[in-house]
């Protein structure tokens, strides 16, 4: 009889969540089947024989056969069973692994199987240590001695009871026959190696942090409690299933690797690789997500006099993902630049979307430009993107793209830290802002000049 320890188990050894235990138990039962289970043999000690000892290699062979896996996996599985405490080693009892040789193991008695529901009490551990102390003084190992002292301090109030229990158990054990006693001692020792592991070993029972909700807890019933989310969400889900708009487009994916030689930083490359350029043809999203692709597209749009679309899209992205403090001003700025009547970079969206956007802008919010942004995105995707992919500029980029050489994985050069890259980018941006052309005609002449030279200059980025 043990009194339930009212003090919380300090070592967080209580494990409400080990679902694997039930599954492990099923496997154990199969293993112990006299006909189809693991072959067992009696083990001879000095005078006594211990029945039902099994060898490590037999266990591994049986597991490999049962689960149709190779020996390495069977060995790993077997080791987990030992770590959980269902099988224990007879020699080298502190190392809870399966050795693929003739080392002997035994099945643990179900009395000592790890359970999901009940914690392993410190009181029982104290009784066990006290019993071993009584049997032979000085037999406790260092960590066990430390535990014993600690428990003696914490459980001082019931120490008499513990010592009495220990004595009783010791006396009862003496009355048993020698083989039974040896077996029981082995089992008990194995149990405590699993549940109070020596320091520095990996414990299979190590569970980690306890989660807030206990799956074994009884359901709370009461008038005040209801779960309206489930109720409402089930209803909404039912309705939304019928009314959700699915927009699907095929997305092919290819395995690509950007070789380190050609990518010293994020996007500060002059010439992209062939594969990178090919990736832009997969979908519009791919083109936009690659900074070099986006730059090329931006240049193309400038020539077609429709660069305000991409600029608007980028500003919307900035609004969505930017800091909340500047959100209102940004929204106003975008309105003045792109949406107001007579705006310098007026975008072409249909009347309905314009109406929604303008009315939303009265109370600006991060997602207020979503509808307009989607419209412009689709516009660019359906029209401009196709034209860009077919354009001579893009074909030129494809031709100039280099085929990267085989990567030699020998250089372990340290790469540029992203922090440095960001500083460089900001310096560059500051320089561009200081020397940027004001007139659109100047931009065009500069562009055509560059086109002749065949060099790409990073265009002026919209304010981020």
């Amino acid at each position: 009889m043990t009194i339930r320890n009212a003090i919380r188990d300090h070592g967080q050894r209580y494990r409400p969540r080990m679902v694997c235990l039930k599954k492990a138990e099923k496997v154990l039962l199969e293993m112990q089947d006299p006909r189809t289970g693991v072959k067992s043999q009696p083990q001879r000690l000095v005078i006594t024989t211990i029945p039902h000892a099994i060898t490590g290699e037999d266990i591994i062979a049986w597991l490999a056969d049962r689960f149709q896996v190779d020996p390495q996996e069977a060995r790993s599985f077997g080791s987990m069973l030992v770590a959980l405490g269902y099988i224990y080693p007879l020699q080298d009892h502190k190392r809870l692994v399966i050795k693929p040789d003739a080392s002997l193991y035994r099945f643990q008695t179900p009395y000592f199987w790890p359970t999901q529901q009940w914690p392993v009490e410190d009181t029982d551990y104290a009784i066990y240590l006290a019993k071993r102390n009584i049997r032979k003084k000085g037999i406790l190992e260092l960590h066990e001695q430390e535990q014993y002292n600690r428990l003696h301090k914490w459980m001082n109030h019931k120490w008499d009871f513990i010592v009495m229990q220990a004595k009783e158990q010791y006396r009862a054990a003496k009355e048993r026959k020698k083989p039974d006693r040896v077996v029981f001692e082995c089992q008990e020792r194995a149990y405590w190696v699993v549940h109070r592991p020596p320091p520095g070993t990996v414990s299979g029972m190590d569970y980690g942090l306890e989660r807030r909700i206990d799956p074994n807890a009884d359901e709370v019933t009461g008038e005040a409690l209801r779960d309206p989310y489930e109720h409402n969400s089930s209803q909404s889900a039912l309705v939304s299933q019928r009314s959700v708009v699915h927009v699907v487009s095929g997305r092919r994916f290819k395995y690509l690797a950007d070789f380190d030689d050609f990518l010293p930083g994020f996007n500060s490359v002059d010439v992209p690789t062939k594969m990178r350029v090919e990736r832009w043809t997969f979908s519009f999203g791919e083109l936009l997500s690659d900074p070099i692709g986006r730059d090329g597209f931006r240049l193309f749009l400038k020539k077609e006099f429709s660069s305000e679309n991409l600029a608007f899209w980028e500003s919307c992205e900035d609004l969505k993902w930017g800091a909340a403090a500047t959100m209102k001003e940004k929204a106003q700025q975008i309105y003045k630049t792109f949406l107001a009547r007579g705006a310098p970079r007026w975008i072409n969206i249909d009347g309905k979307t314009m109406e929604i956007t303008v009315s939303g802008l009265r109370h600006p919010h991060r997602y207020v430009l979503d509808a307009a942004q989607t419209h412009i995105y689709m516009l660019m995707k359906k029209d401009k993107y196709g034209r860009y992919i077919k354009s001579p500029v893009f074909k030129d980029t494809m031709k100039k793209a280099i085929a990267p050489e085989e990567h030699k994985f020998t250089n372990r050069r340290p790469s540029l830290s992203p922090i440095i890259l960001r500083q460089q980018e900001e310096e560059q941006r500051a320089k561009m802002a200081a020397s940027a052309p004001v007139d659109i005609t100047q931009v065009m002449s500069k562009l055509s000049q560059q086109g002749k030279e065949g060099k790409e200059v990073p265009p002026r980025r919209p304010s981020k």
């Binding site: 409690l225 969400s233 089930s234 959700v244 708009v245």
Partner: protein, 395 residues
């Protein structure tokens, strides 16, 4: 953006509090109501109304769930592995440990890659957060958080900051600096504040916004600069253990998985729970979007990983095996999405063929539970963090 399911977001004054905000479309007794997410929460906290009782609300819940399943079943035409029969078999993989990153003194709980495909950040049980260079094994930055069990860490898209959080219920953003004398932990800014431990965090498409999930059952979107709560997401009835942002550059959704066995897909604008999947038999430890954004995978304590399709609105594949009885704690897709790497509590990593549903390979090496597996942004390497105090890079 457009390669994804669209949920038309309404925006305007809330029916209840009249502030302008993105509205959640909910239905009460088949009547559409447009409330902002705050008002929905307030409404959810009301007690039972007249004529309602816990029992009959529960019954209604069950019947609605059954109807949902029926509707889902109507669209079910063919199984994924049947379609995949025509697909070529994945060749034998030769993935080996290429690097072992030693330096943490305690269980490594989380890691994340930087967009430059080389650097990674990892956090551990004793509060240490380390930024490594994966090639050279240099530790570039190291900081100690004032809390233990730092279960969440994320690298900012710009590569100039990291976010981490854990038992302190807060998620902080730490700007990285190259000055080795600077105490990075001193410059940290507390962004997210929850009422229970932080289980996961990620930056959105910029450094300015942070999504966090917490043991208090909620997820939240925060503005990094001001620490303001932009949107909160309520719907889980237990701890939320993991979240993942949709991969599209202009994505507006994210998926979260929790201890209530549910995986929920949320609209970041309105805070609404768009889709919900309850197929697992135990806590969901990790969720990850498929590279195209149309599906996601989840790993659970019931030793299975499941694959859910958002357009078909159901689970399309279960990755399980007799010999796997330990819970899966983490999943990630390869770059193309054909392979699923799952880390388990039995110290191994299994590689699954997503389309055919069978296991391609099993990777050994760690000496304790694997807490996190992440494929590098260019798909050439895989990093696993484990409770054996090390991280391994595989390729």
């Amino acid at each position: 953006m457009c390669d994804q399911t669209f949920v038309a977001a309404t925006f305007g004054p809330c029916d209840n509090c009249t502030t302008a905000s993105p509205l959640m479309n909910i239905y009460i007794k088949n009547e559409a109501i447009n409330y902002c997410s705050f008002c929905v929460e307030v409404m959810a906290c009301q007690g039972l109304q007249k004529g309602e009782s816990l029992a009959n609300l529960k019954r209604e819940c069950e019947s609605l769930k059954k109807k949902l399943e029926e509707e889902r079943g109507k669209l079910n035409d063919v199984e994924l592995h049947q379609v995949a029969e025509k697909v070529e078999v994945v060749g034998a993989l030769s993935i080996k440990t290429r690097r072992v990153l030693k330096g943490h003194g305690n269980k490594v709980l989380c890691m994340d890659w930087c967009k430059d495909k080389r650097r990674l950040v990892s956090s551990s049980q004793d509060g240490k957060v380390i930024v490594w260079d994966g090639f050279t094994l240099n530790k570039e930055h190291g900081m100690t958080m004032p809390t233990t069990w730092v279960m969440a860490c994320a690298y900012a898209p710009s590569g100039c900051a990291v976010a981490c959080g854990g038992l302190d219920n807060k998620c902080s953003v730490i700007p990285l600096s190259l000055d080795s004398n600077e105490n990075l932990a001193a410059k940290k800014k507390t962004v997210a504040m929850h009422t229970n431990y932080i289980s996961g965090c990620t930056f959105t498409n910029s450094d300015m916004q942070l999504l966090s999930s917490s043991g208090d059952g909620t997820c939240a979107l925060w503005d990094v600069e001001s620490g303001q709560l932009l949107q909160s997401f309520h719907g889980h009835t237990a701890d939320v253990l993991s979240l993942d942002l949709a991969p599209s550059e202009t994505g507006n959704t994210f998926v979260s998985g929790g201890c209530d066995k549910k995986a929920n897909v949320w609209d970041m604008r309105s805070g609404q729970n768009i889709q919900s999947f309850e197929c697992h038999e135990s806590d969901i430890n990790c969720v990850k979007y498929y590279p195209s954004g149309d599906a996601f995978a989840s790993a659970s304590d019931d030793a299975t990983c499941r694959f859910f399709d958002l357009r078909a609105d159901r689970e399309v594949a279960v990755f399980q095996k007799d010999s796997i009885i330990f819970g899966a704690s983490t999943v990630d897709f390869s770059l193309s999405g054909r392979l699923l790497f799952a880390g388990y509590n039995d110290y191994t990593m299994n590689v699954w063929d997503v389309l055919k549903g069978n296991r391609v390979s099993i990777l050994f090496g760690h000496e304790n539970r694997i807490s996190r597996v992440r494929v590098s942004p260019d798909g050439t390497a895989l990093c696993s963090a484990s409770w054996d105090n090390t991280l391994r890079i595989w390729a």
